[in-house]
Structures are given as C-alpha cells and as structure tokens.
Symmetry: C2
Subunit: 102 residues, 2 copies
C-alpha cells in the first residue's frame, strides 16, 4: 500500500527565459487551490491524498501538467473547473479523466 | 507503461522556523548529484529515470527523504554513497535497498 493513496505532483517551475513552463499558467496558485479542496474534503494525509509542489518534470510543451502516482497518470488543465473534475472523478471516485490525460 | 520508468522525487523543502526539513540536510545538492549521475549513466529521459525536485512531502521527521514512483518506495539517505546505492540497486537493477526504506 502506498503511503499516499494518491500522490499528486504539480509542476510549478518558472523559467526565466520566456520559454514554455507550467508557472506561466499560474500553476502554483492552482496547486494551492487543489490542496485546499482536498483538505476541505477531508482527504488529506497518510492513506489519502497529497497535493505536492514539484520542479520541472520535463513535459513543458504539454503544460501545465500534473502527475498522479502511483498510477502514473498525467494530466493537463486549463482552470479550476478541470481541477475540480480531476479531484471528483479521479481522486474521489478512482475514474481517470480521459479528456485531460496527456 | 509509466512515462518514466522511475520518477524520483527529492524533497528539497526549506523551513524558515528551524524545524525539521529535508533541506537542512542539503537535499538540493544531493538531488543535483543524483541527477548528474543518472545523466552520466545514460538513464535520463522518457522511459528512463527522472530525478525531480519536490516541495514538502510531509514526512519531515524522517528526512531527508525521497519517493520513488510508480512503486511508491520511500527512502532516507545520509550521503552520496547512499544515493549511489539506491541508483545502482534500485534504479539500475530494480532491487529495493531495504536498509534505507522508511
């Protein structure tokens, strides 16, 4: 059993040279939104969900991206509605949100 | 098949209040060492190994820590010799280094 049922990594990397990076899409703010939602839903902690900051995961051109482990499912997102859908479908109900998979 | 065969996350979080955190053990420098080793070994990239920076993974008292996905194996380490052993045993040969598992 994994320490976290779902360990979610948001790339929040900011490049300084203007090239593609997830923080250009305010990834850190979106991560904070997701973290707050998980806490509100009572899903945070060991055996539950961890919403983590990560550095560059080297899929910059497909960003903004998140990785969900241990499944190894990668998503992109446009806004908090997409995050809500990933939380509700995947992290609560265990169903992959195919339309957002990269 | 996971995008990376092994996606390794080093907590490099620095707390400012003096409490336990992985960066107190120079985690960022150790992560850079591991990343360089993986590159030198020709293991970096899609289908291979990614050595990633991560924020706090909330196992601070057991730090410094790394998480290896998709397995969900967590390690601590003392020095670069431990990192070399994790790379050689786990990331090259697929054998868990039990003595460093947390």
């Amino acid at each position: 059993m994994s320490y976290y049922r779902y360990h979610v990594f948001f790339c929040t990397n900011q490049r300084e040279d203007g090239s593609a990076c997830c923080q250009n899409f305010n990834a850190r703010e979106t991560r904070n939104y997701a973290k707050d939602r998980i806490k509100t839903l009572g899903l945070a902690g060991k055996g539950g969900v961890r919403i983590n900051i990560a550095g560059c995961m080297d899929r910059c051109s497909q960003g903004p991206i998140i990785a969900v482990y241990p499944e190894g499912i990668w998503y992109t997102y446009v806004d908090n509605d997409d995050i809500d859908e990933i939380i509700e479908e995947h992290l609560v109900n265990g169903r992959i949100v195919e339309r957002l998979v990269i």
